[in-house]
Amino acid sequence: MSIIALLISISLTIAVIFLGVFLWSMKSGQYDDTYTPSVRMLFDSEVKRGVDKETSAKQEPKK
């Protein structure tokens, strides 16, 4: 039966680690804004530079 004591101590340790990680992420403000990051990751990292009016004008008729 002593194996149970061992298993429980392991499971409890892991659970405490997860709790700690949650508390840390909470404190570091990761849950403060749950919307912006989801949008931010979809933005192009570099703003399109070469898109001037001529190319966009050319592209449009193709549609």
Partner: protein, 798 residues
Amino acid sequence: MTRTDVVAETTCFHCGAACEEIHWRDDKPFCCKGCETVYEILDSNNLCEYYDLNSTPGTKTPAITDTSYGYLDEPEISAKVLTFNSPSFASADFFIPSVHCVSCIWLLENLSKLNRGVVDSKVNFAKKTVHVDFNPAVISLGTVAGLLASVGYAPRITLEQEKKVKPRTDRSLVLKLAIAGFAFGNVMLFSFPEYLGIDQADHTLTRIFAWLNVALSVPVLFYSGIDYLRAAVRSFQQKQINIDVPIAAGLLALFFRSAYDIATATGPGYLDSFTGLVFFLLIGRWFQSKTYESLAFDRDYTSYFPLAVHRLDSDGEWKPVVIYHLVKGDTIRIRNLELVPTDSILLDGSAYIDYSFVTGEAKPVKAKSGDKVFAGGRLIGTAVSLGVEKSTSQSQLTSLWNSDAFKKVNESKYKKIIDRAARNFTWVVLGIAAVTAVYWYVTEPASMWLVITSVLMVACPCALALAAPFTMGSVLRELGKRQLYLKNADVVERMGTIDAVVFDKTGTVTHGQDPDVDLIGELDEAELAKIKLLTGFSTHPLSRFVHDYIRKAASVPVDDFRELPGKGIQAHLQGKVYKIGSAAFTGFHEKLDQSASYVFVSIDDEIKGYFMIRTMVRRNISAMIQRLGNKCKALLSGDHETEKQPMSHIFNESTTLLFNQSPHDKLAYIHELQAKGNTVMMVGDGLNDAGALKQADVGIAVTDDTGVFTPACDGILHGSEISKLDKMLELTRASATILKSGFAISFFYNAIALSFAVSGHLTPLVAAILMPISSISVVSFSTLAVKLVAKRKFKNIT
């Protein structure tokens, strides 16, 4: 095809508003110079992706005025706004109310493309803030704010910036909840063998589990549940018993009884119930704070206060200074529509001060040179110099709004149901505990203490504490979905008791926006520009319509500005007397069609023309008023009697229709109704009936732009939803019943549990089943009931 045909349906490329006067640029239409300018800036910086992410992402931008953010560069002020400051790196958080879509985020996060001085910017969409890191050697704080404003995201810089404490407390609630939840889960796990009756043979293991439970419960009591203990102590100090007292008693009884059982090896303890209880209680609190967060009034009244004001320097220059640094004897300059930051003496000429924010009285007060002007008043008319009489502090400014003028006079009448229930509850519990104690003392003294603790444990009114936040929170949410935003849960309670509803006319029953305005007469552009300037000083709805109708405003000095309630406005402009107002006031005598409202203009007593304004009655309002029936007591209008005819079609015969009402008359009328014993709800636009809104038991401001905040009101209702007002009232009335039913359910469970406890049969297993069930059933009942009632009530109502 002519171009005007296109024009009729064109919407602004930037903000999506319909264009009346088109500005073309790169074959794209813009509704105003402001929108066009933003496009220009973005275009020249290759940032037009802004328009690809979302069509018409902008907000209508007034052309940038010279009310620049220069004052932010004053070291004292920037120190208040900056969150970090060093010679080559600084950061600041700006609150930007106009953030609303993906494009906004994209543009604001690409600020560095607009100005090299900006290092990085990060948006918090939920809070509508942007955090900007910049290099102060390249760009100053004021320029950063100006940069934001130039692309249509004017930051709102106010005293609020100073209280950054709020989000902190909120986070700690979640931490407490997390710890309680963690402990609850694990304690349940370790209690499982006990539930199933296994492992009876292995006593060491049972002991280990029990002690682990104690270890897990300690932080729950001393961290997660500490607020309840503190609140109970406080209520003892104030000699007032509230709901926290029995909760705290229950928590303590549960914990220490369990610890005792475990230490003496007489039982497994009730720690699963204990941690579960704290967990559920905290969920209730979290839900409550979430509700308030999402419904928080967009604008706090402190945001009206200026952060800085122009002060006359020793070398004769006007320099911006933080208002807290004003001392007696300083000379400051206040411009039109700015607030007076502190009590002072008027130094030059005369001025009109509008104290409606402070007193609720909309009529501006005239002050002559040498008169005292009080903090919180708003200047109407030309800029004046003031001599500071008193230094100022934030608490003083805030106390202005918290002054008696804005307190509900009869607040004490509405004792919170929950407190009343809690008080009775506590006495009943104590009574039961005492009776049981006596009984057991006589029959079996040995188990007396066990029974008493059991009684206190199960009596813990967890479900009772959950019923109110979940019911009220759900009601606030349901109303919020229908665009009625109430200040707090107390208003819901008060709304449920309303038996008289009084309406204002313009802006409430009729549309407050986009009326049909026609100009008849010969006014040239310069004269129109001056009319726009003058009407801007007035808060009367008709003035606003005229003001919005004219495009350009003049900037000339205004002398002897006077607003005569019920008549019109009058002023001297460049030697000419302008009168804008009613026919009698301006001397107009012809008979006109009675179905519209008119604003006449005379210059030097010569009628120059008039504006014909047809305001439309809001859709479906008549059906709503029919449904309200006898509850709809009156219509109070500042307009002329001629409006009576169209209004009488909408209202019942029993409704009193009063016209030519000054703000003071409106207030008096509400007062009269209350004296007759009615609980009155005033529905107005909050502009010229602030006093009435304040006096009424519930004052609802109807607005088509929810950014407006009147300190006097208890709630803001979007104009398009006014046709549901009667149903909203019914919902709040139903919510009182739902709340009471929630209480009944919780009492029912408590009664069952008490019967176990009193008879000495409360085993840990019984407690572990009964307690969560009672909490869960109360929460789901109140949430679902409110949802269901709301669904029923608002069915088929448009």
